[in-house]
């Protein structure tokens, strides 16, 4: 049975077309760029890194700063662009009154995690504390 283009069908197709165009436009334009970095936290190394970060935070809670630094440096060696590891390192240096190092680590953390709002705001809160120190 041949499909007749009735006015009703025409209207429906037109609405579908408009909706498709709107939907396509709502996708943010992001040209593929094979040169740019991915986000590292989604990589499989994330599990040992998370474990080391947790151990570092536990050490930090017990004021064992050197041990915390050791854990975090190990985490960074496994996954060097993990912005949270750098942030925790900054936190550790702040607690250990090494304020210049704290600021340097915040800067480094931001350079890897500028897209992560939680991270940047954590760094923003920590920065003045290190500056005051």
């Amino acid at each position: 049975m041949p499909l007749a283009l009735t006015p009703r069908l025409f209207c429906r197709l037109a609405i579908l077309l408009i909706l498709s165009i709107v939907a396509a436009c709502s996708i943010p334009e992001k040209p593929p760029n094979r040169y740019q970095d991915d986000i590292e936290v989604s990589q499989p190394e994330a599990r040992p890194v998370t474990e080391l970060q947790n151990q570092a935070l536990a050490a930090l809670n017990q004021d064992q700063y050197q041990l915390a630094v050791d854990y975090l440096q190990r985490a960074i060696k496994i996954q060097p662009r993990n912005a949270w590891s750098w942030h925790y390192l900054a936190q550790t240096y702040w607690r250990d009154a090494q304020y210049d190092r704290c600021l340097a680590m915040i800067e480094r953390s931001n350079s890897y995690g500028s897209f992560d709002e939680a991270l940047t705001s954590a760094n923003d809160r920590l920065k003045p504390k290190c500056q005051q120190g």
Partner: protein
């Protein structure tokens, strides 16, 4: 009677002085003897109560982290364990041993003190799948492990002047069976005598008399210790007297356990090239790859047997003599009740069980040299040779192996025996120097070219020069001219630089000029203002070698070592963050107390967005430029790099980086003669051989919101279509995005 009295007086007067003389003589003798004993006592004190032995400082590699998903093959893990002198066994491994189970590997790690943490021995099974670790299981608890740290390999030691090497055992670390064997063979009266054994001396005297020559000694273990520690081996009466008194003093002053422990640590067992191996602990590691607490009867017997004649019973040069001596010791052990009959039979039937050959002394001399130079800021050579420091470094033995194999393969391309090489591999994100060679013969401890050879770097200067040029006026798309230039120098002479191919290429984008390493556009831009900025940037990373800035610096006439070049490229690869390259991460004393730590440093010296533009241009070099060979060899990977060649092809350089590794290769001759290799035909090929063996991930540029990416035509810098075959995607500061459009040719 006065005459009699007179006669008597002188008699008594004569007698008194004579008695006095005798008394004085006796007193003098006693005094001299006391002084002599006091002197011996002082000698003993100074050794026993201070640092009895000069202990070489040990240099450790990085501790290999093991976790599921880590790229590591079983063969690589075996290589690492072999370097740590782990022993392959078939039964369940003891600490310091491993076994292969199907496709997996079960290792029992040695206990190790990392300085901040002590890690006990642990039995762990490692599973592999497609070149990665797929699972880690604690064999004891069957628990899945997310992470496990292998104790690090010792990559070398700094030995004292006497070239002695030893591992010290504490009193409670000497196994009782070891003591029993030693006493059964060397001194059965050890726990009864006071340092001397008249019975042993008499027996030895009679045996020697019967034989007509000295065939047996009557020395106790304490006498042997006194001789080894304080005296020379010469056979004189005076030495024997000194030895006897020292033995007596030792017995008076110290416990039997302390004396036997000192003996176990002092005794000379083995010669390893120029190094004398003293003490059973180190000898056991060397010969059997075992710690003394895991030695079996036959091992104990061989070690104790070798004491009588380390050269005569050397199991490598005289295996038959060593075997027969070992079996004699086993027999004594059995007769003295140290061994049961079954174990005696089993041990006697066992082979010597030693390693095929002794490991080389310091097989990584160039790296060790750099560690020493970096340590010398805090420690003297004497301290390094005597204090038994533990130096933890970033050295990666697996990477070093790939470097050495790749270098050998790469140099094999060129029939130039005079061609020398230096290579540095670093993790540019944290500043760790992970591998290094300073000679084409990688285990030759000579001139370390990676640190010492200062050579012109040629076009390796261009990335930092490009950084210095980019800014308000210039972008990668800016048009530049490749045309002749004449510069009058300060001495009045005219400098007329040329391109390497001696051609002129007309107008093009700055990107295009960079990837083909054309000299003239960079000299034009440099003399117009980039030179001063370049000098300032070099000064920031402490690589400006001269106060006077001269135009030829624009073409890399500045000399640097491969190490210095690595520091320059570290900043470039790391988005402008300067991290001092280092080998050392921490130092502890011999009791594991931390003396020094080298934390991660990070100083933002350069603008990230501008450095990203440089990185993108360096990717262009490997895709379509002078290092286009990389795109052919590794088509699916993205790498960034730069070639460098100096006048008359005397130096061939390549510096390049992947996702984490920065590798710098230099080739040249020590006499500075031409090698007829460019950066692309020489160092780049060697670089590729190394990286192919190592395996690597693509370099990715960091996201930076201040940059916009556009497709441009590199011939003229105009915006073009993505689909245009010649278009390249380049980053631009948001306010400097090119507006001119270019037609796709």
């Amino acid at each position: 009677m006065p005459s009699r009295a007179k006669r008597k007086k002188p008699k008594s007067a004569n007698r008194r002085p004579r008695r006095n003389y005798r008394l004085i003589a006796v007193l003098l003798l006693v005094g001299a003897f006391a002084v002599y004993l006091g002197y011996l006592n002082h000698l003993i004190n100074s050794r026993f109560e201070g640092d009895t032995w000069a202990i070489p400082s040990r240099v450790f590699a990085r501790a290999q982290e093991l976790y599921p998903s880590l790229v590591l093959t079983r063969e690589q893990l075996i290589y690492e364990l072999d370097l740590s002198s782990y022993l392959a066994v078939k039964a369940e491994p003891l600490p310091g041993q491993y076994r292969l189970l199907g496709g997996s590997l079960e290792v029992n790690t040695r206990p190790f003190d990392f300085g901040t943490q002590f890690q006990p021995a642990r039995l762990v099974q490692v599973f592999f799948e497609r070149g990665r670790i797929s699972a880690l299981i604690d064999s004891g608890s069957s628990e899945d492990l997310q992470l496990f740290r292998l104790p690090p390999v010792i990559l070398g030691s700094y030995y004292p002047d006497n070239d002695e090497d030893r591992l010290l055992l504490a009193e409670d670390e000497v196994p009782q069976r070891f003591i029993d064997t030693l006493i059964a063979v060397e001194d059965r009266q050890f726990f009864q005598h006071w340092g001397l054994s008249p019975m042993s001396i008499m027996r030895a005297f009679l045996v020697n008399l019967r034989a007509g020559k000295a065939v047996q000694g009557g020395s106790t273990l304490t006498q042997q210790l006194a001789k080894n520690l304080f005296l020379t081996p010469e056979k004189t009466l005076l030495r024997k007297i000194n030895e006897a008194f020292m033995a007596l003093i030792l017995e008076l002053r110290f416990s039997k356990q302390a004396i036997i422990t000192a003996y176990v640590n002092e005794v000379f067992v083995l010669q390893q090239k120029r190094i004398a191996i003293h003490g059973f602990a180190q000898a056991s590691r060397m010969l059997f790859r075992r710690s003394v607490d895991s030695l079996e009867a036959q091992h104990l017997a061989l070690l104790v047997g070798m004491v009588k004649g380390p050269s005569r019973y050397n199991p490598f040069s005289s295996p038959d003599a060593a075997l027969s001596r070992r079996n004699l010791v086993l027999k004594i052990m059995f007769e003295q009740g140290v061994l049961g009959e079954a174990e005696f039979s089993e041990a006697t039937a066992a082979p010597l069980g030693i390693v095929d050959r002794l490991p080389g002394v310091n097989p990584f001399p160039a790296y060790l040299d750099l560690v020493k130079r970096q340590l010398q800021a805090s420690y003297s050579s004497a301290e390094l040779a005597q204090r038994g420091l533990r130096v933890f470094t970033a050295f990666d033995p697996l990477l070093q192996r790939n470097l050495e194999l790749g270098l050998a393969r790469g140099l094999g391309r060129y029939n130039q025996p005079e061609l020398q090489a230096a290579v540095v591999i670093a993790d540019y994100l944290n500043g760790d120097i992970q591998a290094l060679v300073g000679d084409r013969v990688t285990d030759f401890p000579g001139f370390n070219r990676a640190l010492m050879a200062q050579r012109p770097i040629g076009s390796l200067i261009k990335p930092l020069l490009l950084y210095s040029l980019l800014g308000e006026q210039l972008t990668l798309a800016s048009k530049v001219k490749d045309e002749p230039i004449r510069i009058q120098q300060s001495d009045g002479k005219i400098w007329e630089p040329r391109n390497y191919d001696r051609e002129l290429h007309g107008e093009m984008s700055l990107y295009e000029a960079f990837i083909h390493s054309y000299n003239l556009p960079f000299v034009q831009l440099g003399v117009a203002g980039g030179l001063e900025a370049l000098a300032q940037n070099l000064a920031q990373i402490k690589l400006l070698k001269h106060d006077v800035v001269y135009p030829s610096m624009l073409l890399g006439t500045t000399s640097m070592s491969a190490f210095e070049v690595s520091q320059m490229f570290q900043v470039i690869a790391n988005n402008g963050y300067f991290t001092p390259l280092t080998t050392i991460r921490s130092v502890t004393d011999q009791h594991n107390q931390t003396l020094e730590r080298v934390p991660f440093e990070s100083h933002k010296l350069f603008d990230q967005a501008r450095m990203i533009q440089v990185q993108r241009a360096m990717i262009g070099v490997t895709e379509n430029g002078t290092a286009g060979y990389l795109a052919e060899r590794f088509p699916a990977r993205t790498l960034a790099g730069k070639t460098g060649t100096t006048n008359e092809a005397r130096d061939s350089w390549f510096a390049g980086f992947s996702s984490r590794l920065l590798t710098v290769v230099w080739l040249g001759r020590d006499d500075n003669g031409p090698i007829n290799l460019t950066g692309a035909s020489g160092a780049l090929k060697v670089w590729s051989d190394i990286m192919e063996l190592q395996g690597f991930e693509s370099f990715k540029i960091s996201r930076d919101d201040s940059l916009d990416w556009r497709h441009i035509n590199p011939a003229n810098g105009g915006i073009t279509r993505k689909s245009c075959e010649i278009s390249v995607l380049l980053p631009f500061p948001k306010d400097q995005v090119p507006t001119a459009r270019s037609r796709c040719p």
